[in-house]
Amino acid sequence: MEFFDNHKTLFRTALGLFVGLTIIVAIMPAINNQENNAPLPNYEPLSQEAYLGKKIFIDNGCVACHTQQVRNVDMDKVWGSRPGMPADYAGIDRTDFWRNTATLMGTERTGPDLTNIGTRQPSLAWNLLHLYQPRAVVEKSIMPAYSWLFEIKTELGEKDVEVVVPDAYRKGISGRIVATQEALNLVAYLQSLKQTPLPDGKTPMEFLYKKKEIPVANGNTSSLPDGKLLYTNNCMSCHQANGEGLKGAFPPLKGSPIVLGDDLELFVNIIMLGYDARPEYAVMNAVGTDNNLTPEEVTAIINHEKTSWGNNAKTVTPEEVKKIMDFIKLTSKK
């Protein structure tokens, strides 16, 4: 054919077809999404610290293993309370002239999604130790250790934040391990990662592919959710799988007077609102409130803790727990 034997028309046609389709499926939608989306009204821009921390997150290629997107499918429910939407990313602009926008949505979950990590794990002490040596808190983790974000000092300065590292991971370091500003910034960024709440009256998109609820047999105790799984997801990273915590950072639950004792109100209070009464340990955040734990879930966790690792205390019922939680809600709303 004549047409195919003329290099000018041939290559122009091919290029034209490609560019035309590109405009339709890439350029137009990109411009459209860029122009027509605004951050949610409750959106909080990153603080200066968190902004610098995000740069560290980018520089070290953390996105290779951590996504930041909650898809609208049921299996992603663990990563956020609602599916992500264009507005969630609308506040993110180009990093600078040299570097592109970092939405950091990612394509691989070798590690957990971080969309809501600021709610799930806000503890500064935990995050610093985890960055210094992930295996000190999560034994099976394969995350790199970011020990170069920390320095060794013989004496603590006034503003220095020390990281209490278990002996097994100190590797003969005798000085004090102190977080650099970079490490603190990075943690500030991680703490800032929270799903922005929707404006009042707006219902979020639904999660698709819901699992069919398996009807549970009658009886109160058997209808409780899996306490061990809840413990693993919400408590284990600090208090550890063996319930023994980490010396100098996270208290043990094995043999703990609070866990074994009868003061259920204090126990539920700690889970729901956090705890900062003991200077030798790190501050505990409001795990229960942050993660919207239901009375049944709290009960399951409490009962798991009361009966594991050699603990042998009387279990509690969801009704008792619910009463205390209602009270907490009432008083904390004021």
Binding site: N33, D59, A64, M75, D93, R94
Partner: protein, 583 residues
């Protein structure tokens, strides 16, 4: 890490077995040696006794022995039927007689065809391209191997420059832009002048491109290790000034190729040139859109990212390699391509569908639904060009299958074509919604990208390089190392991908089930990550062999050859006599 658990892992057990094999073999050797020494001692004793007996041998006995010896040594003279005249072969019918002088452990494959005339300057340029590409292959996969090991041993080092997140893009970008791209461009410098039937417009431009691309990959790798990157989009980790060097390199070579094609002495433009020129034009479009430094806020970045990463592999690597295949395959089989028009159909359909499928990396994400749907439809549409291409190549093979066993290059072609079919269709399957639920975010994607970038692109490129370089230099690689390269790469790839696909399927299902914690899904993957490291090691080993083969093909030193065929003998005699005259 706990050592107690590791020894119950099948992967570790197999590794230990592999280590044990040489130890066992060594022990067996020691036993055999000891037994020999003992036997020797006993035999010596026996010999002494026998010597005593020999001394007392009588004349009669000696005569009888001599008589018997003569009888046993009787043989025919071998010309009882043929007589004494010399045989002749006036018409030269008997040729290429292979004499079995020793056991042939390796089958003798067909030698490369004789060298066509190629300007020595161009030869040098192409060899430089392929040499640099080989270097980046070694560099990139060494980094890849190390990164793979980090999945099994995360505490192997604690240096910021060598941390996982920084090295991973060093690996992917070095093999993309350093190895595959340079190899493709180098081969294009061979193909385009051939099919246009005239010399390349400018050799100097070729060198400029080579320098620009090498600079880009060197700078890019250093920047990434230092923590300077573009912000998280895969294969888009180099910052734009670095990628601009690469882009300028491609622009000037594109102009160079275009000029050559414009002046061609053939009427038609051979289909290879369609693919190659388009790949280069499209890459520039893709790169400019993706790297233009003043847009892509918010989700715009993600939409462009999906477009960029998929067009990068499909419109640059795949299209380019298909173009090279349309030249090298018919030439290796010594017959025209099965259907020229199927090639043309595949070309247009590939542009039509491939352009649409970028966002299939972000299914169920916040990207508009219509765009996701278009991507899924486009992915399904890709069946047409893939089937058309595969059919075309396999039908070209038809009737020439016997050539496969006698060639050391064709197996690379065949594996490339097979993975082109399976790898591409796997990509289509992954884009469907259910499979996306199971496999998205898992290592299945990593396995898929290795099946395609390695199984298709690398195998094809190796096939082309083994075809072209002997023609340029007149030297062939040792068959045994080519064979070892092929098998190690293939087996390594299977060890790498299959366990990874199996493990990540389990992982995806575990996530969907939702009754186990995330960290358990990390634990689950441990054995499969170990298998990946083992497969990766085999692949890496094969690249060292490839580099060696390449070295053998291009090294300057000429091996001393004793002429054996009548033609060579006569030539040698003539050369020798000429020398004597001039002396």
């Amino acid at each position: 890490m706990e050592t107690k658990n590791i020894f119950s892992e099948s992967g570790i057990i197999i590794t230990l077995l592999l280590i044990a094999i040489p130890i066992i073999v060594a022990s067996i050797l020691v036993i055999i040696k000891a037994k020999n020494i003992l036997n020797n001692f006993l035999k010596k004793k026996e010999l002494e006794k026998f010597n005593e007996y020999l001394k007392g041998l009588s004349n009669e006995e000696i005569q009888k022995l001599e008589q018997r010896k003569k009888e046993l040594e009787f043989s025919l003279s071998n010309n009882e039927l043929a007589g004494d005249s010399t045989p002749t072969d006036i018409k030269g019918l008997i040729d290429n007689v292979s004499e079995t002088s020793s056991l042939r452990f390796i089958e003798q494959k067909k030698k490369s065809q004789t060298r066509p005339y190629i300007e020595p300057d161009l030869t040098k340029l192409i060899l430089w391209y392929l040499g640099c590409a080989t270097f980046w292959l070694l560099f990139g996969t060494t980094v890849g191997e190390y990164v793979g090991i980090k999945f099994v041993a995360p505490d192997v080092d604690h240096y910021s420059w060598l941390s996982f997140g920084r090295l991973r893009p060093v690996h992917t970008n070095a093999v993309f832009w350093g190895w595959a791209s340079l190899a493709m461009l180098g081969l294009a410098y061979y193909v385009i002048p051939r099919v246009s039937n005239l010399p390349i417009a400018s050799i100097k431009t070729g060198y400029r491109t080579l320098i620009l691309i090498n600079t880009s990959v060197i700078l890019g790798s250093l920047f990434l290790m230092a923590g300077i990157n573009n912000g998280g989009g895969e294969y888009r980790e180099y910052i734009w000034p670095v990628m601009a060097l690469f882009g300028i390199g491609v622009i000037i070579s594109l102009k160079n190729f275009y000029k050559t094609i414009a002046k061609r002495t053939t009427k038609e433009i051979y289909v290879s040139n369609w693919y190659i020129i388009s790949a280069m034009m499209f890459l520039l479009v893709i790169a400019i859109i993706a790297y233009w430094p003043s847009w892509q806020n918010g989700l715009g970045e993600t939409i462009i990212q999906g477009y960029y990463m998929h067009q990068g592999v499909g419109m640059w690597f795949m299209l380019f390699n298909l173009g090279l295949m349309y030249y090298f395959l018919p030439q290796q089989l010594n017959k025209p391509i099965y259907s020229y028009s199927l090639g043309i159909l595949a070309f247009w359909v590939q542009i039509l569908f491939y352009t649409l499928i970028g966002t299939h990396h972000f299914i169920f994400s916040a990207i508009p639904w219509w765009l996701q749907t278009v991507a899924i439809v486009g992915s399904a549409g890709m069946i047409i060009p893939v089937v058309a291409g595969t059919t075309n190549f396999l039908m070209t093979f038809k009737g020439s299958w016997y050539k496969l066993s006698g060639s050391y290059t064709l197996p690379f072609y065949l594996i490339g074509i097979i993975f082109y079919f399976t790898g591409s269709l796997q990509g289509t399957a992954e884009a469907f919604k259910f499979t996306n639920l199971v496999w998205h975010f898992t290592d299945f994607t990593v396995a898929h990208s290795h099946l395609t970038m390695y199984g298709i692109i690398c195998f094809m490129l190796w096939g082309f390089i083994y075809t072209v370089v002997p023609r340029l230099t007149g030297k062939e690689p040792p068959q045994i190392t080519v064979g070892a390269h092929f098998w190690l790469a293939l087996i390594g790839l299977l060890f790498y991908t299959f366990p990874l696909m199996y493990g990540s399927t389990l992982r995806g299902l575990m996530w969907m089930e939702g009754t186990k914690s995330f960290i358990e899904s990390v634990e689950l993957m441990a054995p499969y990550w170990l298998w990946r490291a083992i497969g990766g090691s085999l692949m890496w080993l094969s690249h060292i062999l490839f580099a060696y083969n390449f070295y053998v093909m291009v090294k300057k030193k000429v091996e001393i050859e004793i002429p054996s065929s009548p033609k060579d003998i006569l030539i040698a005699k003539m050369v020798l006599e000429n020398q004597e005259v001039t002396n």
